[in-house]
């Protein structure tokens, strides 16, 4: 099983090790933030609350991109509705904490459960569709759930929900980081078990998978439920972290575009591709976000980037550095042929 995951080229591996080292230092030093020790060390990011926001957001998108990768990358079902799972997770926590006065920890436990059950209900009919049809149908679900929530009076409708403020940057940073680690761990386990083989077989040829004994419906629905649970967990953490949720901030379709872009750019179907994609792209997006006109252009840029990636690097940047992809006319022709554009 392991031989499919070609070791990335040395340059890429160094990049990964370097990135991981920086991340680790930050994770370990994080408790020193806003303390005298942090000041004395003279590390600017440790005294800056903005950095926590950035790091937490990056970790959140690692969860979203890795979760999307399970259904979109491994199973081959490009879901445009994953943001619904994020919103449902956020609203599960939000409703329980703000309307039912549950402790946050307890409410967070249900944040993955509700989206997973929702994935079960919509997955059975939706996953009968293929390709573009599934993509469009899932987009419909993603938009519809947000609209429904926006109109439900008991859920605060368009006013949204306010959660009691928990002042701890550190808590949310570590929670989101744990969720990211969990998402990567879950992907690793899937890739190394029977279940992962089944998902890949479905992605490569669903009828061939069925006639060798893969229960395709069960596998597809299970993959969607796992993706939904992880996405919902991130949503639940986000709700308490942000202390305010409404349709706009937990059901934004841009999140869905971004998680797809991150997974595809980094390398859909790989273990670390979505992680690399999420870190890189989220830092770029946050960098551009403050820049006025640049922010508007960045949306166009992301779209172009997605198109270029899919055409030239169908297996992502990870494969480009470590594998067979090359930027060439030949690669373009092959990729157009394979995607039958």
């Amino acid at each position: 099983m392991t031989q499919r995951f070609r070791p990335p080229a040395t340059a890429l591996r160094r990049l990964f090790v370097g990135g991981a080292a920086i991340a680790l230092v930050y994770v370990v030093l994080a408790p020193l933030s806003s303390t005298d020790a942090g000041q004395q060390l003279g590390l600017p990011f440790l005294t800056d609350r903005l950095w926590f926001r950035v790091a937490t957001t990056v970790a959140m998108f690692v969860v979203l991109a890795s979760a999307w990768n399970i259904i979109g990358g491994l199973t081959g079902y490009a879901s445009f509705g994953n943001v619904a799972f994020f919103g449902l997770g956020a609203y599960t926590t939000g409703v329980l904490v703000s309307l039912r006065q549950w402790p946050f920890g307890l409410a967070l436990l249900l944040a993955p459960v509700v989206p997973a059950l929702f994935a079960l209900v919509i997955g059975i009919p939706l996953l009968r569709l293929h390709g573009h049809y599934f993509a469009v149908a899932s987009l419909g679900v993603g938009v519809a759930v947000g609209e429904v929530v926006n109109n439900l009076q008991p859920l605060g409708a368009s006013t949204g929900l306010f959660l009691p403020i928990v002042r701890s940057n550190l808590l949310f940073f570590y929670l989101m980081l744990a969720a990211a680690a969990l998402a990567v761990l879950v992907t690793w386990v899937i890739l190394h078990t029977r279940f992962g083989y089944g998902l890949l077989a479905i992605r490569e040829n669903e009828e061939a998978a069925a006639v060798i004994g893969v229960n395709t419906t069960f596998y597809k629905v299970a993959a969607l439920m796992i993706a939904a649970a992880l996405t919902g967990l991130a949503g639940g953490i986000f709700a308490q972290w942000n202390t305010f949720i409404n349709q706009e901030n937990v059901f934004p379709i841009e999140y869905n575009v971004e998680m797809i872009l991150m997974a595809v750019l980094g390398g859909a179907g790989t273990l670390l591709g979505p992680v690399a994609g999420a870190v890189t792209l989220e830092l770029v997006i946050l960098r551009l976000a403050g820049g006025g006109a640049a922010a508007a252009y960045s949306q166009i840029g992301l779209g172009v980037l997605l198109a270029v990636t899919v055409i030239f690097l169908p297996r992502g940047v990870i494969d480009f550095f470590g594998g067979q992809s090359r930027l060439s006319l030949w690669a373009l022709r092959r990729s157009l042929r394979e995607t039958s554009v």
């Binding site: 029977r194 089944g198 009828e207 069925a210 060798i212 004994g213 893969v214 419906t217 179907g269």
Partner: protein
């Protein structure tokens, strides 16, 4: 007792009657051939048996139980393996991993772990002659090798019945001989076989009995040599004029040169 019994199976696609009241049965250990001109419904029949299509009428029985309407993965685990005329390998996997998927999901008894499945894959790759190429990515395989891989993946399921959809199409005479040896060898291990073929040498060479389909209807069933001399069969393949002339010269010894095209898909 027949191992596989197809009773009055019909299948329509809109206004097209792809199969009409097809009936035949296969005994344990047999090599049963299904032949017929392009579009006769051969692949449709295989799709009905393996559960990819629901039948509109009739019953399919396997080892004394009805498998009509069962989903494809259940039928697979009951011991029925199949190959596709247009090969469908899992492109992102190696040759060995492709074969291992068959062992991983299709074996009727117990659940294998990936490691055991890979080990089992080696034994079937040996049998089909792909052992040396087991670590190749699929895209490096030639067409005959891809057909072998298709068979290996099905064999890894340890099937008691193997449905082969034109595995010989597009092979040269030497490769056909090799493939025939492989078919005989698998059959000797106790695997019943149903094979769709256009290459008549294959039908005469290995099949115990053959069924001829024409426009979705069974035309004749019997010993391969007898079936191929039947005027109705010659007419179905070559038209009425040749059937009237009769004689062995007019028999369709190699009726097809299409080489794995889209017949009956």
């Amino acid at each position: 007792m027949s191992q596989l019994a197809v009773r009055g199976v019909s299948k329509r696609f809109g206004g097209v009657a792809a199969l009409t009241e097809v009936t035949f049965s296969v005994e344990p250990g047999e090599i049963f051939g299904i032949i017929g001109p392009n579009g006769a419904g051969k692949t449709t029949l295989l799709n009905c048996i393996s559960g990819l299509y629901d039948t509109d009428a009739g019953e399919i029985r396997w080892e004394d139980r009805s498998i009509t309407g069962l989903p494809a993965h259940r039928i697979a685990r009951l011991g029925i393996g199949r190959t596709f005329q247009i090969v469908r390998p899992f492109g992102s996997m190696t040759v060995r991993e492709n074969a291992a998927t068959g062992a991983l999901f299709g074996q009727p008894s117990g659940r294998l772990q990936p490691r055991q499945a890979l080990a089992y894959a080696d034994t079937v790759l040996d049998l089909v002659g792909l052992a040396a190429k087991r670590d190749y990515p699929v895209r490096r395989l030639t067409v005959p090798d891809r057909k072998r891989l298709e068979v290996a993946r099905a064999l890894a399921m340890r099937p008691r019945l193997l449905l082969l959809d034109e595995v010989m199409a597009g092979l040269n005479p030497v490769e056909i001989e090799q493939a025939l040896d492989m078919v005989r060898q698998v059959n000797r291990q106790g695997v019943t076989m149903v094979l769709i073929e256009h290459v008549m040498r294959v039908i005469v060479g290995v099949c115990t009995r053959a069924l001829v389909l024409n426009f979705g209807r069974p035309l004749i069933e019997g010993k391969p040599e007898a079936v191929l001399r039947d005027p109705r069969v010659i007419e179905a393949y070559l038209g009425e004029r040749y059937a009237r002339q009769g004689g062995p010269d007019a028999s369709p010894t190699q009726a097809d040169g299409e080489g794995g095209g889209g017949a009956g898909q």
